[in-house]
Symmetry: D2
Subunit: 245 residues, 4 copies
């Protein structure tokens, strides 16, 4: 597995170390210096700004990787992992891939004994996703540039995660691909989608349907006082869960 | 690894299969029938109520295991996993253990290549936690009945998770035990605790401090209409994150 | 105007003083004692429990009056008043009346120079509402036991407030009854209703459509710490506003 | 009472009509045309953009009036009005005035039979507030450029509303100024302030202490689907209520 290195300052501002000199907003650091550094080392730009060298974790990497479409926030993927009991060794399916952030999140949890099958119909996105996944050194993800409804081979999955405009179109396939006890998890921004999805999931035979939304609010602790942050995201998407029984 | 089996009805009501006849609220099922069943099988009570046999996932198990103290909800542990980039193979510390739900959640993600060191000062809780962890067949958790601040041996950890009344008392130990780039994550119900913790974490040298709260709201999709659920938990705890840089 | 008196203990537990001895959960107080008391006096039950005599404000009264249907919470009516700039002297329409809580809220603000026309099709509710409104001594409310869509006489209103299962059926009437610059405000529990309503209100010619939901969360300040309350109402209804321009 | 006129377009964009030509972002309208118009008339700019003439309600006016400090949002003042049962004819005190938005809100509800006593220690704010209040033609507000704690004359008030950095410093005065059954309502951004305030209010003898926060979320109804709005204000201030019994 490739170790990705990032350089991070004390405020959390991060840079991905590539095969080149690193140009920050406060001076540059030579390629050679970075290559010879180890996690924990502190490097200085030619202007004296300090950066700590870290082994990138997945959030560092996802923040910095190539993205040409919006990605699902960690808060929502965290709820998916927790509600479905996702763990090391699980076999999961993810559709659509987009830039690959969700596949990377899932792959990081299921690990080398697990596997992520990630479906994306747009070739340009599939290419970006492949680059991103390989770039992080993950070997347990297969990006498939095809529609989930044609020729789905996966069986006995622990989790099928859908981020599609019309997820109900693949409800049958999702059901067939899951093991008994396995979960479907779905992310959709509109409540109209949630309604249609519930209707179809019941018809297809899923049980334990549940939809939730997750509101995350930051708390600001300052010397003048403590308060929730003014800026807050009011909505990302609804999460819908169903189980094959 | 032991496979725990549960029996679940179509509404999600679950029973843990133990070495005995199973008595449900709608009749019983004989021990032998359960032992001879496989995941996916449907068993009937003597009164005809149907239950599907499942391999328990961690949520099934945590719902049904012995608990004598409150546990952290999946929504909050999901945010912890997502924010810290927790993954397969990670080395993590968890204090205090309580009934072991958090340790089980973490152990399920870090897998056999990872490890969870779980500290609990109360002997009665440590005993319950050990039974619960062994009961689920997890071999990657060490429950230690001792105070985190005495004789902490763990080093180079990816995550230190604290659920203690005064987490700031072990901020130094947590910092020492983490690898560079590792995360401290903390759960506390009171905002006063968050204030003190921020103050101490900064002093100890942690970076990227952030506190959040996660509000989860259920959505009810019924034939008469769709709406958020009336019942909602207004607060569980604040989550605080900090990174060792 | 009749002055309603209540007796309240230090925890906020209230009793409405009627023409009778008052029986509390901690003893009784004689009718004569209550009649001879003035706001601010402290009366004692025969068991020694103390109650302060108060002139009832509308919330005291609404809490204690006869109700046989659910009422809209103060938080939602407060948003209605604030968003529509409701004030003393306004002419408003309210449909359906239910037990009269909304009409009383509106009447309390618009005052003697204002007026509330309150429509209710169910005779039993209209009777309860009339009793409740008269009981509080309000003379600026007319409860009409009829459908809003038949023979609506009111014109030039500042506000039309709707709490009906199918509010879109009276969108035309509401528009006709409002003054230019006047507001329609609508309360509905289901998001499906909000969708239909938006569609129809635009068609009818309303402007500045806006829908919101109001989440109110209690904060608990205790000696052991401060935190949001665990119990919280996750949803009451959506509020939709539109203006006649 | 002066009638303020505004010109509003179909999207809700508003202009206050002053004694001058009106210059909008889509052309101008002559002073004479505006003066000769009545509420409900539609005027056109020289570029053909249409504006409806309205009698300004308080929100129109507050949005457009001179402000040099932040104001409390309608959502929060709506909760204050609803929780305290504020109505026509009430006598209320408001400190600190700021640009006068809160005083205008309160004055609009209490009406000519009621009164608002508004305290502001900064002379520049008091001057702005006076101009704003007179500009809207309100004759029931007295802006006092003095500290609430010196020489408070008001008695028997229905409501004391505080928007001060250290509201606990005037808790005694607030208690003395209220009638029995009257309410103190307080707005503060920091939770630390809420803690101190609770402590002092109890000491001073207030009852029924309660603190809440109001989260308002917009709902977007579009042809592509319905969803909560992405942008949301995560926090404005905590509202604390207490009653004099």
């Amino acid at each position: 597995m490739i170790i990705m290195r990032i350089l991070i300052d004390s405020k959390g501002r991060k840079y991905l170390a590539k095969d080149d000199d690193l140009h920050t907003d406060a001076g540059y650091i030579k390629k050679e210096e970075i290559e010879n550094s180890s996690p924990g080392d502190v490097l200085e730009t030619h202007l004296g700004k300090k950066y700590t060298v870290l082994e990138a974790n997945i959030n560092d990497y996802i923040d910095l990787m190539e993205r040409r479409c919006s990605i699902i926030l960690p808060k929502d993927m965290g709820i998916v992992a927790a509600y479905t009991g996702l763990g090391c060794g699980n076999q999961v399916l993810d559709a659509g891939t987009g830039a690959g952030a969700t596949a990377i999140f899932l792959a990081n949890i299921v690990g080398p004994q697990g596997h992520v099958y990630s479906y994306e119909i747009r070739e340009d996105f599939a290419e970006i996703a492949k680059r991103n996944i390989e770039g992080f050194g993950l070997e347990n993800v297969a990006v498939k540039c095809q529609d989930l409804s044609e020729n789905l081979e996966e069986k006995n999955l622990d989790l099928v995660f859908l981020d599609l405009p019309k997820p109900w179109l693949v409800a049958d396939e999702a059901h067939a691909a899951l093991k008994t006890g396995g979960f479907l998890a779905n992310y959709t921004p509109f409540v109209d989608q949630v309604m249609t999805l519930h209707h179809v999931l019941k018809k297809v035979g899923f049980s334990n349907l549940e939809s939730v939304e997750c509101l995350l609010r930051g708390i600001e602790v300052k010397s003048k006082g403590t308060r929730p942050k003014t800026r807050m995201t009011g909505h990302t998407g609804y999460l819908t869960f169903a189980r094959k029984l």
